[in-house]
Point group: C2
Amino acid sequence: MTNESYRQFCPVAMAAEVLCTRWTVIVLRELIAGSTRFNELRRGVPRMSPALLSKRLGELEQAGIVKRSRIPGPPEIEAYCLTQAGRDLQPVVEAIGMWGQKWVETEPSLENLDPELLMWDMRRNLNTDPVPRRRTVIEFIYPELPESQRKWWLIVEPDRTVDLCHIDPGFDVDLYATVDLRTMTEIWMGLRSVANAVDREALVLVGPRALIDTMQSWLGLSPFAAQDKLAG
Amino acid sequence: MTNESYRQFCPVAMAAEVLCTRWTVIVLRELIAGSTRFNELRRGVPRMSPALLSKRLGELEQAGIVKRSRIPGPPEIEAYCLTQAGRDLQPVVEAIGMWGQKWVETEPSLENLDPELLMWDMRRNLNTDPVPRRRTVIEFIYPELPESQRKWWLIVEPDRTVDLCHIDPGFDVDLYATVDLRTMTEIWMGLRSVANAVDREALVLVGPRALIDTMQSWLGLSPFAAQDKLAG
DNA sequence: CCGGATCCGGTTAGATACTG
DNA sequence: CAGTATCTAACCGGATCCGG
């Protein structure tokens, strides 16, 4: 069931036994970002098999990092929540991410683009403060992608909740953003600014001036975008 | 040769591909602590096979974390040194260790005691400032261990270098410390003080008063000993 | 839909021995 | 000193299937 121990009394080894198994820190990133349900977590780690995710969640529960609770139904739903020990892992995950942003060459990772992951992250981090206090709809169009992944809608409701759809919700669209996936991912990662992408015509915005001019501020970036890159 | 990618553009995933494979952070801990040669690293990870250590060092070199350099001989010797990217991993390893010290139950790890690891760590962290400015020899005796691991000598030379022997160097001994391995490990990890162990007669010190009274200060503790424990 | 369990083939890690 | 070689056991990825 569990991994063989390193058999060292050093705290680094003790922690690494739990944390440094395949996929574990990625799952922790999702939990820290706020995901709580099994299939919600799956969206954040689409290439991880559900069997392995289930196993890892069990190990994290065993280690006191995650607590499983049953939300009364129907449908009866399981929620995975971080304990205090789990929330205390945020500095660890952040340190790993900061190092990755600073030192890992981007080129290889920019070959692994995923519009669903990107849009999901954008939804999570969108800053609603600069957005008008009525329902605002932004449509992203990735012309080079197949039909099923081409169009995405971000919807900011008057109550400041943000929804993401990949089928047309039928609302009037305030802002259209036509862009290639790589450019949008680079913007999200802080490797390029909105203005730069517009200048190079890699990003075409159609909509009210106010929404366009504030895009860099309402488009929440990756939590690691502020870290300068030294590699790649 | 290398691990399969997570295929995510997130910096956490990019970093985890390199860092979160088995044994990798333990090897990094050794490199950060100052080990540079292959067999020196092996002493810090005695349960890791040399084949895997060699493979990991190759991966770390590939990732730009370690640089291999040849020290002219004979004997010709290879040295593994951290690059700037490698030194930048210190906050990551420290964050992992701090979390481990705070949240991982100690009991299981205290079943995996190792006198050589412990003495090696003590040698590395010994604070020579409070030690007299002549050669000082401290003999540790673990009565419950087999002959080959029972006696260890820490030698502080006048030039402030510290040596560790596990065969009698033949010098006059200034201080004898008779202790069981578990108690000494608990002291090293900050779970118990020298005074407490002496009071409970788990640690018996024979030698000059000055050396005994200052032991807590010259005995450098684990870098994580300052972090309070909340689990186990 | 939600939350997994099962099976199978390929890869990785552990143990031990050996070499230039 | 600094690694290879070899063999076996454990783990992982991918697909499929299942009960509520």
